[in-house]
């Protein structure tokens, strides 16, 4: 029993009206009559059902016994397809930006972040909240966008209503829903419809002009795209540590890809993270990344990176002229770079002794 008190004008059993304060602080009032009683008793039953508890406990136990690592990393795998629930064209939900933006998990040109919500306890974020940010169209070149703040007339939108990319399982709506969550870019009186959605495991006010007013919709927790990362992995964990969409790496470009020896890599707008069990998740950017790709990346002679980019500051590296040397150590060599000079490939150090 979770209701702590009932401040009532009538009682539950005889109610044509009732009011209550629940233990979670929600205040409930109803003039629905018997429908309300059914709702309250149903709500209580859902929380006190021995059978329901046993079912949930059994499911958890089975998942842990069959595939403990997989369950911890991505418990949703067994229950949802790659794009998650509500991915069809008739679902009424909005598509992910990665699906319609060349795999890039960012607002496409011509759209701006207009609001966000979170889904708590998301396996795709390692059990943290997963944030979904609506990218709304702008109200471009229109003489009469409408007077009311919020959404402009659809004739002014910078995109038009269609469905997801052919060949993707994310067939959700593109630029069809005239809805604004409202926490982002509030200085913009009017925006167009929701072009697409960006996902993040970090709160949007860290990287967009958004307020912190929380909105929640846990039913969207497992919505996803085949152009987005599919699981909580060492790479996504490292990306989160770096600041995710607010990091110098920028947005993900498609999902993770397998690499030799059971490793993986993830592309970003401005870099890459390579991972193997032996070397961990390492970040590569700029000229050193370009050279690494030229040399065959994880499948090439250098193998996986074993360090991240290090900058000389009188420490272990030499200064090259007046500029700092940057280098990354790999399993079978080192890449070294200084601005204005080509990237140099250094052989691995000789074994000691």
């Amino acid at each position: 029993m979770t209701s702590t008190s009932v401040s009532t004008s009538t009682s539950l059993s005889t109610s044509t009206a009732l009011a209550a304060v629940r233990s979670d602080g929600e205040v409930v009032a109803s003039t629905l009559g018997q429908r309300a009683v059914d709702a309250v008793t149903g709500w209580l039953a859902a929380r006190t059902s021995r059978r329901g508890f046993l079912l949930r406990a059994g499911l958890l136990g089975t998942a842990l016994a069959v595939d403990p690592r997989g369950y911890v990393l991505r418990p949703g795998t067994a229950y949802a397809a790659v794009c998650g629930p509500g991915a069809g064209a008739s679902s009424g939900w909005t598509v992910f930006c990665a699906t319609v933006n060349d795999g890039v998990n960012a607002c496409p040109p011509g759209s701006i972040a207009a609001g966000w919500w979170k889904a708590d306890g998301a396996s795709l974020c390692g059990g943290r909240a997963r944030y979904i940010i609506d990218c709304n169209a702008t109200c471009s070149s229109c003489g009469s966008p409408g007077a009311r703040a919020g959404i402009c007339s659809s004739s002014c939108w910078s995109c038009s209503c269609t469905r997801g990319l052919p060949g993707s399982c994310d067939q959700r709506a593109v630029c069809c829903n005239a809805f604004r969550y409202g926490q982002c870019n509030q200085q913009v009186r009017q925006v167009g419809g929701v072009h697409c959605r960006v996902v993040s495991c970090r709160p949007p006010w860290e990287f967009e002009q958004c307020s912190t007013a929380p909105a929640t919709d846990n039913r969207t927790r497992d919505h996803n795209s085949d152009r987005l990362p599919q699981a909580w992995t060492p790479i996504t964990k490292r990306y989160l540590e770096l600041g995710e969409l607010g990091s110098p790496l920028g947005a993900t470009v498609h999902g993770e890809s397998p690499a030799p020896g059971g490793g993986a890599y993830q592309r970003y707008q401005h870099g890459r993270i390579s991972w193997s069990a032996a070397t961990g998740a390492r970040v590569l950017t700029g000229p050193l990344l370009a050279k690494y790709l030229e040399l065959g990346a994880e499948a090439g002679a250098l193998g996986y990176p074993v360090s991240e980019e290090q900058v000389s500051s009188g420490g272990p590296f030499k200064r090259i002229g007046a500029v700092a040397e940057r280098r990354v150590v790999f399993q079978r060599g080192t890449l070294s770079y200084a601005p204005g000079r080509p990237v140099v490939v250094l052989p691995p150090p000789l074994p000691a002794g």
């Binding site: 009206a17 205040v27 409930v28 309300a36 059914d38 919500w117 829903n177 005239a178 969550y181 929380p214």
Partner: protein, 148 residues
């Protein structure tokens, strides 16, 4: 039946259920839901979990409050609860479109507080009656300053 919470008071007409809470993780932002159907315990702030069970003559209302500083932004330039009219509704003004439903959305400020009012009606073709029911609900709704 009167529901009062977080500085918002609603006199419920017959045939409504309302639930209100201060949003966890906020500085006391109010979320008020009202519907002509029983409200499930688990529901999205803008109605997912509720709108799926609306019949053609049913209505759902979400009064969502933003952070106090947001009230100074142009998005919230309108003052006071809106007057709801059938012409305000469109099948596109929904978080999730389809099922013949229709919606409307207003941003406004009142008593120094920033709000969005989102209304979903079960049928676009019957929106006149639905809008009247919502108007009756809002006529008994008052917003005061934030409570301590």
């Amino acid at each position: 039946m009167i529901l009062a919470h977080g500085g918002v008071t609603v006199a419920l007409p017959d045939g409504w259920e309302a639930r209100a809470r201060l949003q966890p993780g906020s500085s006391g932002n109010l979320l008020l839901h009202a519907a002509t159907v029983p409200l499930p315990a688990e529901r999205g702030d803008f109605g997912s979990g509720v709108v799926e069970v609306l019949g053609p003559d049913d209505a759902f209302v979400s009064l969502f409050e933003y952070d106090p500083a947001d009230a100074r932004q142009p998005l919230f330039e309108a003052r006071g609860l809106p007057a709801v009219r059938p012409g305000d509704f469109s099948p596109a003004v929904l978080q999730r479109t389809g099922r013949g439903q229709t919606g409307a959305q207003w941003f406004f400020s009142s008593a120094g507080r920033a709000f969005c009012l989102h209304v979903v009606l079960g049928s676009h073709s019957r929106r006149a009656a639905g809008a009247a029911r919502v108007a009756a609900l809002l006529s008994g709704t008052a917003i005061a300053g934030r409570t301590a």
